[in-house]
């Protein structure tokens, strides 16, 4: 709750492993808030978030990352004073640790593990198509590259559940097609994907399952066809007809 405002109210849905899910709804519906709740940036006032049957509501973000929940951000959270490569390698943090002594004295196979992480980062950068920008400072890289950088970084954590917040925003048509293929490939590799997206064409062609939020409440939940024909969804997106005009000529 934000000063009495219920941003997300009584929303309940479940996510099947290995599928592509979409979370849609008009601006201000609470989609990003829901992501922030799932990833631990916000603590819910009430309710449960079950991951693998365990309630993880209110767990710190770094612990959720350890459990296998990773995400990208709608408003970029990229480390601007680091190279694209270093940004992606930060995603391998859990495999590498953060011992300052180990960093200074390079013991315990630190160098070997770092090289493995670099290989993995290169593979992921190729996977999302940003390998040409590996050595470029993030502040010098274009927006579309940074969007995909966030996906690569999230993938580097080796997630079981990947949350993508408006991954197609600001991308051109060619980039959107590439993104769609990328998301399918991620799901194929066994990672469960949840996408918040406004591009309906993409949502409809991509999703196995869609959840619709309006004003913080769930109005629909189901397969593409089911959601598409739901009158509440149509009302939310197109508005309710006020009057019926019948014209006779």
């Amino acid at each position: 709750m934000f000063g009495g405002l219920r941003a997300v109210n009584d929303v309940s849905f479940s996510i099947a492993e290995g599928a592509i899910h979409s979370l849609i709804g008009p601006n201000g519906a609470g989609k990003t808030t829901l992501f922030n709740l799932i990833t631990g940036l916000y603590v819910p006032t009430s309710g449960e978030i079950l991951f693998d049957g365990n309630n993880v509501a209110g767990t710190a973000p770094e612990k959720l990352a350890r459990l296998g929940i990773s995400r990208s951000f709608q408003n970029l959270q990229v480390c601007m004073r680091m190279t694209v490569m270093d940004n992606v390698m930060v995603g391998s943090h859990l495999a590498l640790g953060d011992s300052i002594l180990q960093g200074m004295f390079r013991f315990g196979g630190a160098r070997r593990k770092d090289e493995a992480a670099e290989q993995e980062a290169r593979r992921l950068m190729r996977f999302v198509g940003i390998d040409d920008f590996a050595g470029v400072m993030a502040s010098d890289a274009p927006f579309g590259i940074l969007k995909r950088l966030e996906i690569a970084r999230a993938m580097a954590t080796n997630p079981r559940l990947l949350l993508l917040d408006e991954p197609a925003a600001g991308l051109n048509q060619t980039e959107k097609v590439a993104l769609e293929t990328l998301i399918r490939d991620i799901a194929k590799s066994g990672t469960t994907v949840v996408v918040v997206e406004h591009d309906m064409k993409m949502v409809m062609s991509l999703s196995d399952h869609i959840v619709v939020l309006v004003n913080g409440a769930k109005v629909a939940d189901g397969g593409v066809g089911e959601v598409r024909s739901n009158p509440d969804v149509i009302a939310a997106y197109l508005g309710v007809p006020v009057a019926k005009v019948t014209v006779d000529a």
Binding site: A60, V78, R81, M82, T83, G91, A117, T157
Partner: protein, 337 residues
Amino acid sequence: MTRRLVDIALLAGILAVVPLFVPNSYIFDVVIRIGLTAVAVIGLNILMGLAGQISIGHAAFVAGAAYTSAILTSIFDWPALASIPAAVVAMTALAFLLAVPMLRLNGHALTIATLGLGLILQIVLVNEVKWTGGPDGLTTTPLSFGSFAINTDLRSYALVSVVLVVTVVLSQNLERSAAGRALRALRDSEIAACAVGIDTYRLKVRAFVASAAFAALSGALTAHYSGFITPDMTGFLRNVELATMVVVGGRGSTVGAILGAALLTALPQLLGGLADYEMVVFGLILMGTMIILPDGIVPSLSAKWRGLTAKRGPGVKTSAAPGQETHESVWRLESGK
């Protein structure tokens, strides 16, 4: 890899030839003090430059270690060879105990808490006359390895040079390591850092302790080099000065840390002839530097160089950054002191 070795060889080479150009022992003293201070500033850069947390209290660890080592040698008759490591260990442990509650604070609150730390120690040093000699300070004995005492300029210089090179190697190793990336990630986006599983609080504590360890090493060595220490070592000015050295040289740059230490140690000496106007000119020079080179000397110049040559590669580390933290503007003002 090779570039790193070239950097280190270059630093060692410069350090080796400097004594040839030192005209008298007064300048030699300044040079040695620059080296000693640089060790503390490189350490502080781990906290301020890499982790992005501002401390204006690290002179407390410098002075704390200096007094610990001085008291152990003068009152308990320890050899300096044992008291220096003991002082570093003691200050590192103290830094950990202080970091656990303090690093729960963020931004300006943390900065103010560190300032309190520096000033409280100064009050303790002034008042515990029995141990510290009070405002008059303490005399210290030189460090010696068996019968080989570090009691000449050249010997002190050689020791400081070795310590400085080791500090630089450790700092650069850290910068390129997984922990170094995690620290920089924490500085640039705390949200991104915790989203990939970095325990930001724990990492801040570690950075604080590591930076205090270098400050302590610098302090303990300074005590036995200078032969005399006073509570001014952790006065307000000295605390702010250390942080200013990091900012002027360039946060996140090891070379910048050395340059910052050199500039701010040497400038007051050069300006000595201006008497009362010394601080005014000093302040103007600092303000000018921060206006022309807002990211600090080394990062700003290397970004300009990068722009000129338009060469991009993983070897290039620092850059002018959009959207820096809000401390930045405050610091540009503060450093004008």
